[in-house]
Symmetry: D2
Subunit: 144 residues, 4 copies
């Protein structure tokens, strides 16, 4: 398997905690981090020229099939978080992303996570990640 | 327009507040009531023999096109709420439901609401509510 | 009641539809609009120098007590929406905001809505909106 | 560490998929499973006599600090899922639960998951799980 360039593989996506994403403990509900990782992953793709509509037109879908989270410190309403999002692995028919969610104001790591996404076609059958798709995924962010 | 029988038009559906449905004020987030009304409406239909899959097979979809909520008292985590759900109107191409969300333990009215649902087909075009569908909607709950 | 200046009362806040905010009809779930209006309202306040932490320190909370939505056209995953957010009324102990959610790419109005927020203190008792708070709410956006 | 009795450690909690918990792929959004596991875990505790209010009164809180999910098969709107919820480990200051989400109609395993919950006090400091709490957690379901 070809190595990934860690610099090219990284995008940092900023999100802000919504009021409704907190819970009665006064902190961000753990389920909200799943949403932040999804937002960051889609933005990671967009910065490499990939939009959902494009890939759907190519018959490529990327549902989450594994997810893990580890909490390090609480985040609170209105906090800005930088989601450091890295492509970690391109497999035969799946890709893996890692995430580090860091509070902007004080650089505290709030949560780490990982997701594996299966590559499937419109009929939900696994499909190999071809060289054309892999090349797109290996790109750094396009200049914005 | 034919009158609706208020007794036949009513179903009471119980929900329990989830932890993640609260917010940092320690009470149920107002967006969660939208979810409770949806759960209750789908159960209202099921108790009259209607399941989503059935209606989709008949080419009938019922998206929410108007929604209103009025808060009366806070609900909290783990509270059981009875959603008193009434069909209020069968229009030419839409239906309206009213909701009263009452806390089970002390009978306090927490929220009132209303939704209007458009009747559309698979291509998102409005369609008239035919007599067959109207008859189903006028039924009381089937015995369970 | 003193008139509000419509220009000063308006902020436009951009949001992007998240994948998880859609439903099986392939469009934005109606409950997601409640979240977008909340994001826009909090940003409206921030642009006038108000952050939640500040107001909580002054003992001011603004829970939603009435909410209405009217759908005009579907929005889809990844759409950018401009939430045109206007303070519509400063009452004795509540404020009302209006919202128009417009799709950026083609200027289509997707949803209109309104919320009334009660002004309460830390013990959940209604409190009058004093002249100091009203003056802040009447401000236009601070230059950014 | 004392062994756990697997029969006593298990509760099966039924949930039904809500419309708003699906996404544009027409299946349950992966974030919704986080909510189902939470519902099941709180019901697991309730069946052993533990309610959130009780434990908060004892100064015991149990936030999720690790979470993992593995998807096996898609679930759809209106599916009933049995969440097989097992206490897997009582640690010094945390507990671990395992989950198997099985579709009721055809016994298909849709998702597996695991959460670790820290035991903290009202000031968010870790606290040891004392013998009194451990005894409660080792109980089977109370007769209902």
């Amino acid at each position: 398997m070809q190595e990934l360039d860690p610099d090219a593989a990284l995008s940092v996506v900023r999100v802000r905690v919504r009021f409704g994403e907190t819970d009665l403990m006064g902190i961000v509900h753990h389920g909200s981090y799943v949403s932040y990782m999804e937002v960051a992953r889609i933005e990671w793709l967009r910065r490499r020229g990939v939009t959902y509509a494009d890939w759907a037109a190519h018959g490529v879908h990327l549902p989450v099939v594994e997810l893990s989270l580890r909490y390090r410190a609480p985040a609170r309403f209105d906090d800005e978080l930088d989601v450091h999002t890295s492509l970690a692995e391109i497999g035969a028919a799946s890709v893996r992303f890692h995430y580090r969610l860091v509070r902007v104001i004080d650089d505290v790591l709030c949560t780490e996570g990982s997701t594996r996404l299966a590559c499937i076609d419109a009929r939900h059958a696994l499909q190999r990640i071809g060289p054309e798709v892999a090349d797109i995924l290996r790109q750094p962010e396009l200049s914005r």
